[in-house]
């Protein structure tokens, strides 16, 4: 018994490392409350260790804890995304005034970040419905707290409440769905579920109800319309760092879990006639249309509403909803290249979105404002930062030669390959719409002049280094995406499937 556990432990070594780190952070915090710097360094060090361990796990493809968790390339890929974004967020938190104001509790802050990360890392591996629910809740619970971290700020508090209620509510519905699935199939292990469903003879209606109820839970996590409503409010209210983290890491985790759940549960592995990489759903599972509708709604609504935002954080919130829409397109394709596209998109998204939030945060530090009107004339006051933000926004729009283009390009590539022209057209038209609001920011920075007496803003080297480490990949992957695609396509394979 014990040795099985131990043997399993090195399968989840990265998680273990993170766990240890967060304990250490807590202890260090108890030792001296003042020094946030050390806490951050400790956390980052731990994360890097975890990252290293992860890299050793690449290619590992098995399941552990009696099928509860699977440690496969798919999970590993997403874990890397999560850890990377955690590192970035951890570092950028050091530069955030909001966070630094909460000196006494900065230990708790890093603890929260790390435990969120931990939850997400488990999410991407979870291959049992119960496990999925638990891990989802695990990351959610910490997120609720984290988004309310700056207790003095009313917004932050309100955000946490809304997040809590909405999250608990929708995960509750998801749980009900899970219970129904259990009733239908008598098992919670997704591979098992798949086997039962393959034999057919299970009630259509119940299956639909159940699967859509589960969809609610996922939809909430990835903030897909119409389960997105919490997103703008929480993103606006929460500290920018947490917003950034939620918008990337937790979305990634949600996506990973959703992809795994739907693929493993609903794939019809008996069908062999298909071209390699494509697959079909078990007859009677209509999840595809549902996803399609969700995707279209999500990006369209996200973009249209974003046109109206004057608060940059809120604007980025809607933009991230729209981005989720694009990624959903990758799922709709129902083929491994669609999944690969989504995974590539996430790496790209990691850099550009975190970059955008990071710049917004830095600017907010100085100007104490997130209002788009206060961005006027920034191009003169802080050229480097403005140019960087411009690049991130252009990348979010998806114009070459930025990484964002490659992300969208792969999505549409897979759509066209699946002959889904119509939906592809909707997608590209959306990206045209999105240009308008992204450019609004750029316009204010460069085309408009701010108040006459504004002096230039300078930023310390450390902050610029982080900026660069986000900016350079955004441009690099725009032109040299060989390895990225290579790695993503390799990582699509999940445990229990070819």
């Amino acid at each position: 018994m014990l040795e099985t556990i131990l043997s399993n432990l090195n399968n989840i070594l990265p998680e273990v490392v993170v766990t240890v780190t967060l304990c250490l952070v807590l202890i260090l915090h108890l030792i001296d409350r003042k020094n946030a710097q050390n806490l951050m360094l400790l956390a980052v060090a731990g994360l890097f260790t975890a990252l290293y361990v992860l890299t050793t796990q690449i290619g590992l493809n098995n399941s552990t804890f009696s099928g509860m968790l699977s440690v496969d390339p798919f999970a590993t890929y997403f874990k890397i995304v999560i850890i990377l974004s955690t590192i970035v967020v951890a570092v950028m938190s050091r530069f955030s005034d909001e966070i630094n104001d909460e000196k006494k509790t900065s230990g708790e802050y890093y603890f929260l970040i790390l435990s969120m990360a931990l939850g997400m890392m488990f999410m991407v591996g979870a291959s049992n419905l119960l496990m999925m629910y638990l891990t989802l809740e695990m990351s959610s619970l910490t997120s609720y707290v984290a988004s309310g971290f700056t207790r003095k700020a009313k917004d932050s508090t309100e955000a946490s409440l809304k997040y809590l209620l909405y999250g608990a509510f929708s995960s509750g519905i998801m749980l009900y769905g899970i219970s129904l699935i259990y009733g239908l199939t008598g098992t919670l292990d997704i591979v098992g579920v798949n086997h039962v469903l393959m034999q057919g003879s299970s009630s259509q209606l119940a299956l639909i109800v159940a699967s859509i109820m589960i969809l609610v839970g996922f939809g909430y996590k990835i903030s897909a319309v119409p389960f997105h409503f919490w997103t703008p409010d929480v993103y606006e209210g929460a500290p920018t760092t947490i917003t950034a983290f939620l918008s990337v890491a937790s979305k990634a985790a949600g996506f990973a879990m959703m992809m795994r759940a739907f693929k493993v549960m609903f794939i019809d592995s008996s069908v062999t006639s298909l071209p390699p990489g494509a697959w079909t759903l078990i007859s009677g599972v209509h999840i595809q249309n549902a996803l399609m509708i969700l995707a279209v709604l999500t990006m369209t609504l996200g973009n249209l509403v974003a046109l109206w935002q004057d608060n940059v954080k809120r604007l980025l919130a809607y933009s991230s909803i729209a981005q989720a829409g694009y990624m959903l397109l990758g799922l709709v394709v129902l083929s491994s290249d669609g999944f690969a596209a989504v995974m590539i998109y996430f790496v790209v998204y990691l850099f550009m979105n975190l970059g955008a939030f990071y710049v917004v945060m830095l600017i907010a530090n100085k100007t104490k404002s997130e209002n788009i009107d206060d961005y006027k004339g920034l191009g003169k006051r802080t050229p480097l930062l403005s140019v960087a933000l411009a690049v991130f926004l252009v990348s979010l729009t998806g114009l070459p030669p930025t990484a964002g283009f490659i992300g969208k390009w792969m999505i549409f590539l897979s759509l066209i390959n699946a002959k889904m022209i119509g939906i592809a057209v909707i997608g590209v038209l959306n990206s045209v719409v999105s240009l308008y609001y992204y450019v609004r920011i750029i316009r204010n920075m460069f085309l408009r002049d701010g108040q006459p007496n504004e002096e230039p803003i300078k930023f310390p080297l450390a902050q610029n280094i982080l900026l660069m480490s986000l900016l350079i990949p955004t441009l690099y992957f725009g032109l040299f995406f060989n390895e990225l695609i290579q790695f993503a396509q390799f990582s699509v394979q999940m445990f229990g499937l070819k």
């Binding site: 707290v145 917004d155 409440l161 809304k162 259990y182 009733g183």
Partner: protein, 102 residues
């Protein structure tokens, strides 16, 4: 009459509906949380009923136990947040706490 699976399901369904109704109609945050508890427990009933009557494995009951624990944890976090809300807003009526909006 003998109690069959169906009865349990009906009960849980009703419970679920009550939960939903509570969640969206009660103004007091605590009450909303209660509603959520109802939803979770309706799910629990399903789990137990299925594993008992469906002639199925122990998994369901195990799930129920986990859910109960998790519900407790959630309640703890939730109450902390609600407390904080009260500090800031001097009310726990969710519909009065709507400053973040378009």
């Amino acid at each position: 009459m003998t109690i069959t699976l169906t009865h349990f399901l009906i009960v849980s369904a009703i419970l679920f509906s009550f939960g939903i109704y509570a969640v969206i109609s009660r103004r007091n945050a605590i009450m909303v949380l209660m509603g959520i508890e109802l939803i979770l427990n309706s799910a629990n009933i399903n789990f137990l009923a299925f594993s008992r009557f469906g002639g199925m494995n122990i998994e369901g009951q195990m799930a129920a136990v986990f859910v109960i624990i998790l519900a407790a944890a959630e309640a703890a976090v939730a109450l902390a947040i609600v407390l904080n809300i009260y500090k800031r807003f001097h009310t726990v009526n969710v519909d009065e706490i709507s400053f973040l909006k378009d």
